[in-house]
């Protein structure tokens, strides 16, 4: 918006500058680089900024860069229709420069080809490489298509709000400069992840966001639990990353390219059900499991709540954790070629959705509930992808970003109000004390529970429809059950926090206060978003990316807002039998909320009774199905203990080094023994000589 204004102004004042600057090959780069610049400034001159009077400079700079990045994204969205013209211009300059260099331009077909609607647009100069050895070339190339655009908007949009929120939330933290620098760096890497035109570049963003996640989870590094959680997050993610990198390599060996577009092009030419494609898909999915906290690599996300709450909202709810979904969707054509891989994705997604939802039932930490909820919702998204509804998965990602960010920020507001208290058992009755927070939070809860016409309803509904369309009744059942559970635990959260009477100590009650406007503003905006973004029809918008059979009906020029469509009509598109679905889904959600009302408002004794009645089941849920226990045992006993006792002390020191030193010791021992032969008696010496003489004579005589 701002940019459009500037563009208009400039085009009036200095047309050449405007022409040079406002191009599709410039502005998205600007979106990418602004946060990086912000990070660099904050990191290098952090000391100087910290000495600023009001101490606001750092935060404002960080916010500014991200808001500008968002503006760039918006500009990009509004100008995507210019892609063709610009591509042609780019192509010609490129061909000219390449001809001058004497290279042949055959490898640049994606750029050289004629423009088609939704043909992905590659940014950057393909002759500047990040890595280039032999046949392996990885250019600094970005990819611009609807999917990227959606992700960019989410990342920079939600990111902006959370940056602003952080201004208030972190106002009193002595190290906010560091905080904002990390946040900026995260935004950069996340944008890189979604914009990267090839798998390695995507991987840079992938690991980069992981790194920022590590830094921000462990932001309060003095707390051991925080740094523990950071390590856990990074290492578990690394496991996934290993899968991702292996998948990347296998993809390169299979298709001869890292370029995402070229890979999807190449996949189209291959028959379905190839083992190698399944392998690639599954390896990449391991990466997705790590980043998006799917079973069995989900254990890091709940712990990640050790970080500041805005971080949880931005990284561990709205953006980074959805990277896995983005990646699977991005390579949707590849996955679509492998029924096995699709089944695995859907199965893992559904299982994660259900398991996480059940764990969320018994959590008492407000952020932990939200964390498990996130895991569960991510499972939902994978479920969507797994049944072939990639666009729906992205849709849910999109809506989820809003309401989950809202919920997290709302919980942050609650925690802020309670001076850091996170245990729901010590809350209650906050409805009136912090009404802004309550109302926005309630909207978020309704959205995630799937109450129409809020955002969550549309996306969730479409996922369920997708399972039906794919004829997967079991998955549908699981989805529905999860939806009910989701509604239940979210309502439980709402009731425990805002209903009843305050259960904390008196002093805490006294201190309860509504948050500043820097925090409430984003909350309100997000609430508006959560209520309304369901009407944006993202699936249709991104559909061309997945190269499914259905021809694209929409053009880029129509823009995002041109896709309002009723959910019922959308559901009808999936099949007539799904007409009942919205009602069932809504009913399920209401049922969940009703039960929660019963348990946590009406009959407060019931939960304990049920818990007591089914001890074992309760314990299983409390112990989160034992994943953490098992992993801890494996890591500390098996890996660390085994490495220490067996590999280091037994194998390395005792066996290998022992053999080395033993050789030395043995030689020394022989030597010490041998010196005793030198008795000092000269006749003994003579005798040895005589023996030698006899032996020599004998040798020469008889050995001839």
């Amino acid at each position: 918006m701002l940019l459009t204004l500037v563009e208009w102004l400039l085009s009036k004042l200095a047309p050449p500058v405007a022409e040079g600057l406002f191009r599709l090959n410039v502005i998205p780069w600007l979106a990418l680089m602004l946060p990086l610049g912000g990070f660099a400034v904050l990191w290098l001159w952090g000391d100087a900024i910290k000495r600023d009077r009001e101490d606001r400079g750092a935060g404002l700079l960080a916010c500014l860069t991200v808001i500008l990045a968002f503006d760039c994204a918006v500009w990009t969205g509004l100008n995507m229709h210019k892609a063709e013209a610009e591509r042609e211009g780019e192509r010609q300059t490129l061909v000219r420069s390449l001809e001058q260099q004497g290279a042949d331009a055959s490898g640049l077909k994606a750029i050289a080809g004629p423009y088609q609607p939704y043909q992905p647009y590659l940014l950057g100069r393909p002759d500047i490489d990040w890595i280039s050895v032999a046949g392996l070339r990885i250019p600094f190339g970005l990819l611009l298509d609807p999917l990227t655009l959606v992700m960019m908007l989410v990342v920079s949009g939600v990111g902006s709000l959370i940056h602003i929120y952080s201004l208030g939330y972190m106002a009193h933290d002595p190290e906010r400069v560091r905080y904002f620098s990390y946040l900026n760096l995260f935004t950069f890497f996340m944008l890189l992840l979604v914009m990267g035109g090839n798998l390695p570049l995507l991987f840079v963003g992938w690991e980069g966001v992981g790194l920022c996640s590590y830094l921000l989870i462990g932001f309060w590094f003095k707390k051991k639990s925080a740094s523990d959680a950071g390590n856990k997050a990074f290492i578990v993610n690394r496991i996934g990353d290993a899968g991702l990198i292996l998948g990347t390599i296998l993809a390169f060996h299979t298709f001869g390219t890292f370029n995402l577009v070229e890979i999807t092009d190449a996949v189209a030419a291959r028959p379905a059900g190839l083992a190698v494609i399944t392998t690639i898909a599954l390896l990449l999915f391991v990466g997705a499991c790590g980043k998006s906290a799917q079973i069995p690599l989900h254990v890091w996300l709940p712990d990640a709540m050790e970080g500041p709450t805005p971080v949880s909202a931005l990284i561990h709810a709205a953006t980074m954790v959805t990277a896995g979904v983005y990646m699977v969707a991005r390579l949707g054509p590849l996955y679509a070629k492998s029924a096995t891989a699709m089944a695995v994705v859907a199965g893992v997604g559904a299982a994660t959705a259900l398991v996480a939802a059940t764990i969320a039932l018994v959590q008492t930490d407000i952020k932990k509930v939200l964390a498990y909820s996130t895991v569960s919702q991510l499972g939902y998204m994978f479920l969507a992808c797994g049944v072939g509804a990639f666009g729906v998965g992205i849709f849910h990602l999109f809506t989820h970003a809003f309401f989950k960010a809202l919920l997290f920020l709302g919980s942050g507001s609650v925690i802020h109000a309670l001076s850091g208290e996170q245990d729901m058992r010590k809350m209650g009755g906050l409805r009136r004390k912090i009404p802004w927070t309550f109302w926005t939070f309630a909207i978020g809860t309704a959205a995630i529970a799937g109450i129409p016409p809020l955002a969550g309803f549309f996306s969730k509904d479409e996922i369920l429809a997708g399972t039906l369309a794919a004829h997967k009744p079991l998955l549908f059942g699981l989805g529905l059950l999860t939806a009910a559970l989701t509604a239940f635990y979210m309502a439980r959260l709402l009731f425990m926090t805002f209903w009843g009477s305050f259960r904390g100590d008196h002093e805490a009650e006294h201190h309860v206060h509504e948050s500043p406007w820097t925090m409430l503003g984003p909350l309100v905006l997000l609430a508006v978003g959560s209520a309304s973004v369901g009407f944006l029809h993202v699936p249709e918008f991104v559909k061309p990316v997945f190269r499914l059979e259905e021809p694209a009906k929409v053009t880029a020029a129509a823009g995002v807002l041109g896709h309002l469509q009723s959910p019922a009509a959308q559901a009808a598109a999936h099949g007539a039998h799904a007409a009942w679905l919205p009602y069932v889904a809504t009913l399920t959600a209401l049922l969940g909320i009703a039960f929660a009302y019963l348990f946590y408002v009406r009959r407060r004794d019931l939960p304990d009774k049920i818990a007591a009645a089914s001890r074992t089941a309760y314990r299983v849920l409390e112990e989160k199905y034992g994943f953490d226990l098992a992993y801890n045992w494996f890591a500390s006993r098996f890996v660390v203990g085994g490495s220490s006792l067996v590999l280091w002390k037994a194998v390395d020191v005792a066996a290998i080094d022992g053999a080395v030193n033993g050789t030395g010791t043995m030689v020394n021992a022989v030597s010490r023994w041998a010196r005793l032969l030198q008795t000092g008696f000269v006749r003994g010496y003579a005798l040895v000589m005589l023996g030698g003489a006899v032996a020599l004579v004998g040798y020469l005589l008889w050995m001839r």
């Binding site: 006749r683 003994g684 005798l687 005589l690 023996g691 003489a693 006899v694 004579v697 004998g698 005589l701």
Partner: protein, 163 residues
């Protein structure tokens, strides 16, 4: 024929006295026995047609070297060696064994090595002297003088009682 008899006579004498040299505890007796051995050898040299060497044997060996030995023996006043208490029997046994082995090996070879000696062999003093003073042995002669000088200096410096 007589030569042969005389040869074996002296040979027996030589071996016998050598046995005494080796088997005697009294160094004095050993020295005397050695003189006998040297004498017998002198005779055998004669029998082998080497009068010059035979004479030299008596003069240098028996006359000079052995006198030196006896002189030192008496100077140091050593008669018997010390008792056998510290003697290791292993050493002797091994020595005899190894000595036997050496003798056996060399003996076998020597026994098999037969060369007919040329008839006209002249090792008279004149002949030997001519050979001795030929250019071939010029160096050895000169060297011998240095050897004796070195031995002399060495003996003096070692045995001289000073300070």
């Amino acid at each position: 024929m007589i030569d042969t008899v005389v040869f074996y006579l002296f040979a027996a004498l030589a071996v016998g006295s050598a046995l005494v040299v080796v088997g005697q505890r009294n160094a004095m007796y050993s020295a005397f026995a050695l003189i006998v051995t040297l004498g017998s050898l002198s005779a055998i040299f004669g029998l082998l047609g080497s009068p010059f060497i035979a004479a030299l044997q008596v003069v240098v060996y028996a006359g000079a070297i052995m006198v030196l030995f006896l002189f030192v023996l008496m100077l140091l006043n050593v008669k018997r060696e010390d008792s056998d208490a510290t003697q290791s029997p292993g050493l002797r046994g091994a020595a005899i064994l190894l000595g036997g082995a050496l003798a056996f090996q060399v003996g076998v070879v020597l026994w098999g090595y037969r060369v007919t000696a040329p008839a006209g062999f002249d090792a008279s003093t004149v002949q030997v002297a001519r050979e001795l003073f030929s250019a071939r042995f010029l160096y050895v002669f000169e060297a011998t003088s240095i050897l004796i000088l070195a031995a002399l200096v060495g003996a003096v410096v070692l045995a001289r009682r000073e300070r």
